[in-house]
Each structure stands twice: as structure tokens, then as C-alpha cells.
Symmetry: C2
Subunit: 311 residues, 2 copies
């Protein structure tokens, strides 16, 4: 049993109640608590030293990243974040100055997005661990889920992909305003934020939507960081493969009706001149991911990266 | 700077907004999101192997305890828990069976209290860590805070205190129904759940209420576990000291107007025949905790337990 299978097994039998609109398996839980005109979004996310940052990472950036990841999940449902709780797990040796700097990084980002931090808890853990619980709201008609893509939909992605671990994973901007704008003007059929990597997160969206995708590989926006790295270190992972499989992009991946694709691109340029938006393929009825380039079409399996390795 | 001072310093400058009725420093955050007739309660709590349980603890009990602690915080504000998110931090070696058993312990308790578990996250941590984020609701007029005790109030505590680490910390019942009954029928001026120990948690309540307390030591309900332990191991911590300072009782401590004390005791016996309720002292205008017994009155300082040690 792998992690995904285990989680599926665990979440299949979780207790629920009438107010739960979306439970486990989407970017946030969605709850109908009879708030006037709003559903409540509920999300937790944890970062751990040695996994999401190192002992050498600047503490402000650790705090910022912990909150930014959770904000990105609220963005993935086109919501507005409102309140956060912070749990800090500490080994004994951590200095108060370091903790204060972690909080500083977190509160600065919280203020930028109007998020109230309404409590904090500390506990003892072997390595520094930050856990964020986040609430948000979304009008029911504008809540975008992972499920909902339809065959023929155009697939879009914001920004540039890959190479985030060179630095961007510590200072990315959660795409909150872009997601709300999308839901207001174009209402995507389905959306997810990219945390595990384009191929993995697209697969999550396809699984939830019960369909497949054909990606146009020349259209995938490969990050400048990746291109530079490839020039400097010719033996590194090929940039296209890295853009497909590197994690921690925290960009939005969404699908819309094909007739909306061109109007969206035009309107986007007006609204967000500084952020690239790329149409990278289309949703297919047939499950699975295929890649199309000038040489033809080939499947991209869960372990499909072998097709791309340099010989 | 000790932990309390650090947290005070960190929480003094947290961002807030208009919907926050109670932020950091109470058992839960209290939010006014315009739910009809309800405020929202928001709480996170984490348990860590080696701190809150051991590698030998039965996994069902680990899961149960993690959720029960958070439920106890909802009880402390007289609320009703509604939705939980679960974060499981795992070292690689944990078996799927163990995780399933942890979830089983958690979901059984969740079902008993009508709590929906609306998502789960796993991450890699050096030792098993469970973090619960919990939502609840409370009618604004029945929300009981730590602040609000008045000079002359009678101080009450449910159950028996001390010796929880002999086993009760793994299977205590969060006092949710009792707290709601109290808020409906007697509306305590202030309430807290006992997690750090009677003396520490009373001090939190007193600090929030800007007053002091005189405890009648013969009235403090010492647990049967402690009395047995004292008989078997005469060198152990004196039972009264243990009842004052042992943590993890998860009982309710609250104060009410003195004229309500006798009616409360009478009504309690009708409502909760199986759970002891003890009046253990009174709130004083003068800050600090004093202990009264047949020999007189003496102060109980933060390190006051030296007064009780056997010579």
C-alpha cells in the first residue's frame, strides 16, 4: 500500500454531516454553515525542517512559506482567506529571536492578505515544525473544485514551472487575486494549485474530474531558472521533465470551456500584465496524460519520465 | 525569556480584523462570521510522541487523545464541535495498520460527538505527530471565556484531579455536554479546561479575569489513583500537591456567582449523577492564589509546591 492508497482508505470512512459540501480530497474542505452568501473553506498545512526548508533557511522565509502554502490552497478554490491559527513545534534549543523572526515572516504575509492570526500554540518536536490552520470564504457559485473538467476544455497554467527549489519556493506569491478574478469573470470548470508538480497535480484534477489530458509540450512554460540551470549543468534533469515533475510551483492549473480560451487570454493580459498565462493543452474523455509535440503523441505515465531521460 | 513571555510577546502584535471576538490567549479563538445565532470557535492542538504518548501507546488511544484534547478546549467555551481536520506527521517506518488504528480511535470519538472529519494531510516528521484543527459553534450569549470571574465568585471543578498520567490522559471524556448544560442553566462567569494542572490553569483564568483565588484545600477532589499511589509509594508526590500540579485532567474549572453555588450543586446531582462537582474556593479581589486549611492560610506561588514537600 503506498501513501495515496492509504489516504484513500483512511478518508473513505471518515465521519461526515449535512454541512459538508466537500470533504477530504480537494484543496480545502468546503462547509455550509449558513453564512450569508458564503461557504467556509477550511485547510491545514504543515512544513517540517529537512523536508520543506533546511536548518539554514532564513526564519522569516520559513514563517512566510508555511502560511503561503495554505493561502495557495484557498486560492485553488477561488476563496478569500480570513483567519489562521499557528502551531509551532520546537526542539528545546531554538532561540526566541528565531521564533520571533518566523512569526514576523508569517504576520507580514498575513497582513498583506487581510488574514487575522487568532492564536498560536507551541509544542515540543524533534525538529522545527510549523502547522497552519486556515479559514476562508467563497461565494457558493464561485467555488471552484478539482472535479468539473469536461472533455474539450482548454487547460491553463499561470506563471513559469520548475526549479522552484532554487529559491522561489520560499518567496512565491499565492495566486489569490488571480483565482478570484478567474472565478468572477471566467469561472473555471476545475482548478488546483501546483504543489506536487504539474504532472502529479494535473493527475489529481483528472482523477477528480474522471477524464484525461493531452498536453502540448512546447506550450509548457519552462522557468528561466530551469533554462539557466540546464545551460550551466548539461547533465541536469531536462527542463521539460523538470517543469512537469518538479514540485512547489504554487501556480494555478485550471480548465475552461474552449470557446473562452481566447477571451480569457486577452482579458488576462489587461488584468495581470506581469504574470504569464499559458494554454498548455486540452481535456480528453480518455483517461491518462499524453504529450504532443512535433514528433507526435506519447503517453506520460506515472513513471513516464524515463521517456525523456537523455541517453 | 521563558515560554509564556515569548508567547505573550509574539501574540501581542498579531494581525486581527473586525470579525475576531477573541484572539490568542483563550481556549479557542472566537469569530463572528455572521452565522445566524452562532459564533464560530476555532482551535488547533498537537500531540507528539515522547511528549503526549510513548512509542508503546496503543494507536487507537493516540488518535482518540489527539481529538479529545481539542474537544476539551471547545468544551471550555461551552461550545459544540462541528468539523475537524487531521494532520499526521510520520517517520517512514510507520505501518499502515498503525495509522489506520490511529484514525479508528479518532473517528470513533468524532462520531460520538457528531464531528465531521473533513480532511487529512500527511507529512514526514521524525516522530509521530498528530495535529487537530477543530471548528465549533456557540451562541454568543452562552460563550464562556477565561476572563469574567468576579470577586466573591464560587470556584468549581468537575471530576477528580491528579494522577492522569497513570492512564486517564488516554481515555478521558471531554466535558462537552456538562459545559453546555452549565452555560444554559447557570452561565459561569469564566471557564477553562484543566490541561496544565489545577494551579497553572487557575492562574490562567485569574490572569485573564484580573483577580485572585483562595482555595479550600480539603475541598480539592484528589483522585483515587493518587490516593492509591500514595499508599503504595509513600515517597511519591503528596496527593494534594499532585492534584494541584499534575497536568492532563481535562476537567472543567469555572466560577459562578456565590448565590448560585447551592442551586448548582443540587441541579448538577440531578443532571450528572455519575460525575463529581466540587466547590473548591472563592475568587478574591487580591491577585494570587492562597490555600486555606484548618491550620490557616498560606500563599501558593508559582514554585509554591516546596511548602508541601515532605521533610
Amino acid at each position: 500500500m503506498n501513501e495515496t492508497e492509504l489516504i484513500q482508505r483512511l478518508t473513505a470512512s471518515l465521519p461526515t454531516n449535512d454541512s459538508v459540501r466537500v470533504g477530504a480530497g480537494d484543496d480545502c474542505a468546503v462547509l455550509d454553515l449558513a453564512l450569508p452568501g458564503q461557504w467556509l473553506l477550511f485547510k491545514t498545512d504543515a512544513v517540517v525542517e529537512g523536508v520543506h526548508f533546511t536548518a539554514a533557511t532564513e526564519p522569516e522565509k520559513i514563517g512566510r512559506k508555511a502560511l503561503a502554502r495554505a493561502l495557495s490552497d484557498i486560492a485553488a478554490m477561488a476563496g478569500t482567506p480570513t483567519h489562521a491559527l499557528v502551531t509551532v513545534g520546537l526542539p528545546d534549543m531554538n532561540s526566541p529571536e528565531r521564533i520571533e523572526a518566523i512569526y514576523r515572516g508569517m504576520t507580514t504575509l498575513a497582513q498583506q492578505h487581510g488574514v487575522a492570526i487568532v492564536g498560536g500554540e507551541t509544542t515540543t518536536t524533534p525538529v522545527l515544525t510549523l502547522s497552519i490552520a486556515l479559514l476562508g470564504t467563497v461565494p457558493p457559485a464561485r467555488c471552484v473544485r478539482r472535479a468539473g473538467s469536461q472533455s474539450g476544455d482548454a487547460i491553463f497554467v499561470t506563471g513559469q514551472l520548475g526549479g522552484s527549489l532554487h529559491g522561489r519556493h520560499l518567496d512565491f506569491e499565492p495566486r489569490l487575486s488571480q483565482a478570484r478574478w478567474l472565478a468572477e469573470h471566467f469561472l473555471p470548470h476545475a482548478m488546483i494549485d501546483l504543489s506536487d508538480g504539474l504532472a502529479s497535480d494535473l493527475r489529481h484534477l483528472l482523477d477528480a474530474s474522471h477524464c484525461g489530458a493531452e498536453l502540448l509540450t512546447p506550450a509548457i512554460p519552462i522557468s528561466d531558472t530551469l533554462r539557466q540551470a540546464a545551460r550551466q549543468t548539461p547533465s541536469s534533469k531536462p527542463p521539460l521533465l523538470a517543469a512537469l515533475t518538479d514540485g512547489e510551483d504554487y501556480e494555478l492549473l485550471f480548465t475552461i470551456a474552449p470557446r473562452q480560451a481566447v477571451p480569457l487570454l486577452d482579458a488576462w493580459k489587461q488584468a495581470f500584465a506581469d504574470l504569464r498565462l499559458s494554454c498548455i493543452g486540452r481535456i480528453t474523455a480518455k483517461p491518462g496524460i499524453t504529450l504532443r509535440d512535433r514528433d507526435g503523441v506519447r503517453p506520460f505515465t506515472a513513471h513516464g519520465y524515463v521517456h525523456f531521460q537523455k541517453s
